[in-house]
């Protein structure tokens, strides 16, 4: 009888232990977290797509990271899990917690990413694997109030892959309050400076020692700032989002502290794992309209100023004139590439274009070039204006002899010519000499159409007058 009781107890203990263990191992499966618990849908999917999930070499279970290692921590976590379940069931919220806590130690275990191997390792980042990166330089740097953890950068953001670093995360530190080409924003911190010639015709040609080859490196040596060509690469100020604070706080005493950077970072980022983009406006760092970016800067005083200059640089088809972008367009030289000379005009600082800028990149002979262009365009404009005025004068003289419909048609022609001419005059034709000359031809075509009909009348009149005398 006694034996029976002992046996039953042993059996019960054994069954209980087996039960606990199997419950533990069952609840530790990623499938349990992902498929049974429907609020985990998104994290589960991003995990599956990530290197830690099904598409990686080894499958790392959710609990391997989300619970710190050790049996004690596991038990602790299981109880917390029960607590979360309780919270979920007893509240209406659809999500229990947004930011998860992952201890650094979970990542740096000896079988995962031991710190002594990963801290100094040179890595390549980005789609094209072109951005060089080491963990150490980043781990040592802190933002006031911030603590650096693996998860500071390796956040799961939106629909991106679990645990990867969104590019925007880099931009906030690298470009916030840092000049484009200085300090943390220096291009060569992350990018290798290319050595291929920028002149397309020299890319495959035999090198000729007399010829000046322009590369990114020679430009750097000459002190040309990266943004004079790549102005459009960084947009945004990472200012605090206007409503970010008020989303959670209404107490004015709390809100008053919003500029205490140290406090804000320690409260939100260190303690609550807030992501940078939760409070800061995002920064964009990619190709876009490079002329527009510079133009808006120039145009901050007068909205829509310099639009004719832009039209010339871009050189879109106009009438019979085919697309003719400025010669410097392909190497993305925008306003700032040539407008480097600082001057004060009516008390306002302005950047003037100067031939010096041509010489910096090309040869000494290019000094003359700008003057030549200016002269050529001015001569052309003067010629076109003279003919335009003559057409108007002749129209005025002979309008009584022509039927009104034709006079209207002529007027329209002249106005059409004037429009094309305006782009050259107001945009200053030197911005794209070739295009400007073609625009003037376009204008002249309209003006000639009128002159060709009216001049014979004038000749006739002259002849009869001479006869009379």
């Amino acid at each position: 009888m006694k034996k029976g009781i002992v046996l039953t107890i042993v059996l019960i203990v054994f069954l209980a232990a087996a039960g606990v263990l199997s419950v533990e191992s069952y609840t530790a499966k990623p499938q349990f977290c992902g498929t049974k618990c429907h609020i985990m849908d998104k994290p589960y999917k991003t995990w599956q797509a990530s290197k830690h999930g099904k598409s990686g070499k080894v499958e790392v279970r959710c609990v391997d990271c989300h619970y710190a290692p050790g049996e004690k921590m596991t038990l602790h976590a299981k109880f917390k899990g029960l607590g979360q379940l309780f919270t979920y069931l007893s509240s209406d919220e659809k999500e229990v917690r947004k930011a998860t806590h992952i201890a650094d130690i979970s990542c740096t275990t000896s079988k995962c990413h031991p710190a002594d191997q990963f801290m100094d390792k040179k890595l390549k980042y980005g789609e094209k694997k072109k951005v060089s990166f080491t963990h150490k330089t980043h781990f040592d740097k802190t933002i006031p109030g911030q603590e650096m953890h693996c998860t500071t950068c390796h956040i799961k953001a939106g629909d991106e892959k679990h645990f990867e670093v969104p590019k925007e995360q880099c931009y906030i530190c690298h470009f916030r309050k840092s000049d484009f080409n200085k300090g943390r924003g220096a291009c060569n911190l992350c990018h290798e400076i290319p050595t291929t010639p920028l002149q397309s015709q020299k890319k495959n040609a035999q090198p000729d020692k007399d010829e000046k080859i322009i590369t990114h490196q020679s430009l750097e040596k000459a002190g040309v700032a990266c943004q004079s060509c790549h102005y459009q690469m960084i947009r945004g100020e990472t200012a605090l989002m206007p409503r970010a604070c008020k989303e959670c706080h209404s107490d004015t005493a709390v809100l008053a502290k919003k500029n205490d950077m140290k406090l804000m970072h320690s409260e939100h980022v260190a303690k609550q794992k807030a992501q940078c983009a939760d409070c800061h406006q995002p920064i964009v760092h990619k190709e876009s309209d490079f002329i527009e970016a510079a133009r808006l800067n120039c145009a901050s005083c007068h909205p829509d100023h310099h639009s004719y200059q832009k039209a010339l640089l871009v050189g879109n088809p106009y009438g019979e004139v085919p697309a003719t972008p400025n010669l410097m367009y392909n190497v993305k030289t925008n306003c700032l590439g040539c407008h480097q000379k600082q001057e004060v005009l009516k008390g306002e600082p302005v950047l003037r274009g100067a031939a010096r800028a041509c010489v910096d990149c090309h040869t000494k002979d290019h000094e003359k070039l700008l003057a030549d262009w200016e002269k050529e365009v001015q001569g052309e404009v003067a010629f076109a204006k003279e003919n335009h005025d003559r057409a108007l004068a002749l129209l005025d003289e002979f309008k009584d002899r022509l039927d009104p419909e034709r006079v209207a048609a002529f007027k329209e022609q002249i106005a059409k010519g004037q429009q094309a001419l305006d782009i050259v005059v107001y945009g200053n034709g030197v911005h794209n000499k070739k295009y400007a000359i073609m625009l003037i031809d376009e204008a002249m075509n309209s003006i000639y159409a009128v002159l060709d009909e009216l001049e014979p009348l004038a000749e006739e009149q002259n002849a009869t007058e001479e006869n009379r005398q």
């Binding site: 019979e320 040869t363 002979d365 050529e376 000359i437 075509n445 000639y448 009128v450 002159l451």
Partner: protein, 288 residues
């Protein structure tokens, strides 16, 4: 030449009574653009036809060209290439004379259709010019370092050339090269450009190009395609040169619309090709 280069409109109007009549005709332009187009087409359309049945590879043309012009050593404006077809022992060697195609072009600069060499020249369009057609009509056009005259000739004005060499790169045929003996007009540190001008100095005096004049076999036939009675127009009709451009011109895939046509009944042209990378070697005549 000078009659075709004047910048003053009023002087133009005084050229002759015919010009005034012409201007009168042009006055319909505003209302009937089609007719204006027809009046314009009256400029000559110079073409050269190479009769491959006749060329015997003597290279008299190459020598005549060298003698006529300041063609430097090592450079050629016209060459004779050869192609061997068939299988031993039944082989045949055909000689193919070549020169700048004075391409019609398919790209637009303003109203004009131009070949790639003109399109790319940064010094085009430049000064205003007027071309007088044989009927006395005027056609306005633009000069440049490399430019197209309304009669289709692709010409060079070294005074405005900066020697940038963009036209050499742009020509798909290798018809242009640097003139190592001459400096470019606007940048003396660079070389001038050399290429066939279709002997424009002779043409403007009513004389045929030197290579045509000298070709004993009569393999080079030159003339105005717009004149239906001309030899070239007759041959073009007979051999359907215009209709079969992709068989009668060199490298049709370059889409430059060459104005040099080949009479090639055996289809030898199709067997002739050259490497784009080596295109400049095309205009170095090596007699094998």
């Amino acid at each position: 030449m000078s009659t075709n280069r004047t910048d003053d409109r009023r002087e133009m109007l005084r050229v002759s009574g015919a010009a005034v009549v012409a201007a009168g005709l042009m006055s319909t332009s505003l209302l009937q653009p089609k007719e204006a187009g027809a009046a314009r087409a009256k400029a000559p359309h110079w073409v050269m036809i190479m009769d491959l049945r006749r060329c015997m590879g003597c290279r008299a043309c190459t020598v005549a060209c060298k003698a006529e012009y300041d063609v430097p050593l090592g450079a050629f404006k016209t060459v004779v290439k050869q192609v061997v077809t068939g299988k031993y022992p039944d082989t045949r060697r055909t000689t193919i004379p070549r020169r700048c195609n004075h391409c019609e072009g398919t790209e637009k600069v303003g109203k004009m259709t131009v070949p790639p060499c003109v399109k790319v020249c940064p010094e085009y369009p430049k000064d205003r010019r007027v071309f007088i057609t044989p009927e006395g009509k005027k056609i306005r056009y633009r000069g440049g370092a490399t430019y197209k005259r309304p009669d289709g000739l692709i010409l060079l004005d070294n005074d405005s050339c900066t020697g940038c060499g963009k036209c050499i790169d742009a020509c798909p045929y290798g018809a242009r090269t640097f003139n190592k003996r001459k400096a470019a007009g606007k940048d003396k540190s660079k070389h001038a450009i050399v290429k066939c001008t279709s002997c424009v100095h002779r043409l403007d005096e009513g004389v045929t190009p030197a290579c045509v004049n000298t070709c004993a076999a009569g393999a080079r036939i030159f003339g105005d395609l717009n004149d239906p009675d001309s030899e070239v127009a007759r041959l073009a009709r007979e051999f359907k040169l215009l209709e079969n451009r992709d068989k009668t011109t060199m490298k049709p895939e370059a889409k430059t619309m060459p104005n040099i046509f080949y009479i090639d009944p055996d289809g030898v042209l199709a067997d002739y090709s050259f490497d784009e990378k080596d295109k400049l070697a095309e205009y170095r005549d090596i007699v094998e």
